[in-house]
Amino acid sequence: MTVRVQAEDFDIGQELSKLRLANSSIGALVSFVGQVRDVNDGDAINTLTLEHYPGMTQKALEAIEIEAKMRWNIIDSLIVHRVGIMQPLDQIVLVVVSGAHRGDAFRACEFIMDYLKTSAPFWKKETTSHGERWVEAKISDDAAKARWIK
């Protein structure tokens, strides 16, 4: 299980290969990539800035990975989350989960994303032609997380 928070972009193919080739009992890899969209709430996006809480981020993401590993039969997981200034079509986040079989890998990958969206200390600020604004948290993200609560 690995967590990286970084300003630099990441190479999905390279990250996936590393996980994939690390264990020959892996039969399934599910991955999620989030990217900056060109329009949000009806406005064209110029830049997106990701702020985070450096002391807490790593710990929060690791806790999510541990929870996923306890809930499902998976082999490994990776979270890479970027911070700093980005533009439309830039990659923001990568989550990869490997396992023997696909069901648990799908479940764990979506779980990690739903928790990351609601529990990891990141905040997005957009610049549009109207100026800067902080992105509001979405009710739909809380609902997505609530599905997993036992």
């Binding site: 807490m56 710990k59 609601t118 200390p121 905040w123 997005k124």
Partner: protein, 85 residues
């Protein structure tokens, strides 16, 4: 007791700084009590911490709810609902 308080995102911008050391009076020992204490500063502080806005808290890098206890030396962070991913 002495604690460290951190602010992030729009809350940091509103109060115009990101961290401060506070020496709390006796009796202020939960997140809610600390929020109420900060709200007494008036103006923007009242706006932020009077309970009308959702302000999340972390103690020592763990998300907590408002009933959680604060101890001397803790790092308490306040921020709006997160929006990463």
């Amino acid at each position: 007791m002495k604690i460290k308080v951190l602010y992030f995102s729009r809350i940091k911008e509103a109060v115009n700084y990101s961290t401060e050391d506070i020496d709390l009076p006796a009796g202020i020992s939960t997140v809610t009590a600390l929020k109420n204490y900060l709200a007494l500063r008036g103006d923007i502080w009242t706006n932020l911490f009077n309970g009308k806005q959702v302000v999340r808290a972390a103690i020592n890098h763990t998300l907590v709810d408002d009933l959680s206890t604060i101890n001397a030396g803790d790092e308490v962070a306040f921020f709006p609902p997160v929006t990463g991913g």
